[in-house]
Symmetry: C2
């Protein structure tokens, strides 16, 4: 089944378009999992603690949101033990009925991109439902992912405009009167994704656009009317509920992702036990997004 | 010690600037390691066979070249078992006195990039000497790698112009009279790397420029006079010995990388045992590059 249709169904079932980013900064985990940040502890134990924490987070959020977005960097920082934790977390999320968007931002020449597609979309052990990819290497670096998506019902989010300040350096740059790189990538996404449109009207080829750039978001959404958007930057990175609205088409077609504000909610709510802090932060986010979309579903 | 100085010393010691890419396409491994391509075999066994093969390749090439360049995608395609194989291969290469350039092409927002730097440059278990990074996310996505390089004596190769045909889609594009994206990235590399220049006159911040674009290579080299260049695309991707020459400055400052033509030399030399084919292909490459540089050292 087409990824866009699966995503649409999941958003409808949960009644909101929010995704929880699983970015396990080991320094920030709740006290219960403190071994994760102990440099003297064996790496396997640290990685196990990271996995334990995220599996608990998945249990807390599974009934509330349609998707989670694990960030591979924090797993890779724990080496092969982190890779085991990644597979455990991806499986736990899928078993809990969540869509898993692997935030891996891979991009390489064709034969290598095909290996990345096998790693993340076609894994026997722990396949993601979708992944983020970096388009710098051009069309032939994206095609293997498109082919894998067609085979597996997977989804792809191409980086079009990232949420960080440095995104202005190259992505936003365009000569006078010429389109910016983001604009050119957006046009490519619209073209490349045309063959992967599902029954819901959206494609399995989507785009990442930071919610931290709401004006750009509106402009880029117009150029990619059928791309499901992944909107990072909500919460800790500074975007608010109103900022994400331009990413939606009649309330559909986008996912808002928050990582630190939910995952490490205990740090700003020290009076609560960490699971209560996480639930409270997530409920607050879901309420705010639904409110901004004017759709109390 | 600064990466550029370590690299310079290694090139001088081996008498050539060649790197062997370790891209273990499981379909192409010699018959002796055929379990790597058996989809029915347990993944751990497949990954072990990949590691066995590459450890043997490392033994074959260690006396001949200064560096190897493992490509992470092919390890990641084997999941957590592949991650173990990666660590084994990186350690084996370092133990054999080779510089290890992790071809990982990572790039992400600052806090995430810092986790990738920990994963690859600051790993306790299997640190790379240098890695490739993707600059699409801008300066704040590169800074954590620069900081890690300063701490560890590591190196960074920023993608400036990749070797694949699709590199023309976004990297080569510039409006009339305006610089291409590759040019803008090259200028940034020259600027960002100024603080990491070693005694040899080159910086620890280098650039990837495909040898498949020799004219671009000459132009980009001029804009990045102090950047060590990594030149992929030699051999199977079509670049020849003369094509790499513009990447060098008086015979110094670049590494030429070949993957498939060396690693899978047995496929084009079926009359030879695979180790003999690998040695022959590598000796041929080394001879051709030294000949083109007019420097029989």
């Amino acid at each position: 089944m087409n990824y866009a249709d699966r995503l649409e169904a999941a958003v409808r079932a949960k009644g909101n378009p929010c995704a929880v980013g699983l970015d396990p900064h080991t320094d920030l985990v709740p006290e219960e999992f403190a071994v994760a940040r102990d440099p003297a502890a064996p790496r396997a134990e640290r990685a196990r603690a990271v996995g334990d924490f995220l599996v608990r987070v998945i249990e807390l959020v599974a009934e509330r949101v349609p998707a989670v977005k694990p960030q591979s960097a924090f797993f890779e920082a724990l080496g092969a033990d982190g890779a085991l934790a990644w597979e455990r977390v991806v499986r736990a999320a899928r078993d809990a009925g969540l869509l898993v968007i692997g935030d891996v931002k891979r991009g390489d020449i064709g034969s290598t991109a095909a290996a990345y597609a096998r790693a993340f979309l076609e894994s026997d052990e722990a396949p993601c439902d979708a992944i983020t990819v970096n388009p710098l290497l051009g069309r032939d670096s994206i095609e293997p992912f498109l082919e894998a998506a067609a085979r597996t019902g997977g989804g792809i989010y191409v980086l079009v405009r990232t949420s960080n300040p440095g995104s202005a350096d190259f992505q936003a740059a365009g000569a006078r009167g010429e389109p910016s790189l983001s604009t050119r990538i957006a046009d490519a996404v619209a073209e490349w994704g045309a063959g992967l449109v599902g029954e819901c009207g959206f494609s399995a080829l989507g785009a990442v656009v930071g919610a931290t750039h709401p004006r750009e978001l509106a402009r880029l959404r117009e150029r990619m009317p059928r791309a499901p958007l992944l909107l990072p930057g909500y919460g800790a990175q500074g975007a608010g509920p109103a900022d994400v609205v331009p990413g939606f088409v009649e309330g559909r077609g986008a996912l808002v992702s928050s990582s630190r504000a939910v995952l490490f909610a205990h740090r700003s709510r020290p009076q609560l036990a960490w699971p209560d802090a996480t639930r409270a932060a997530l409920d607050e986010m879901v309420g705010a997004i639904k409110g901004a979309l004017g759709n109390p579903r």
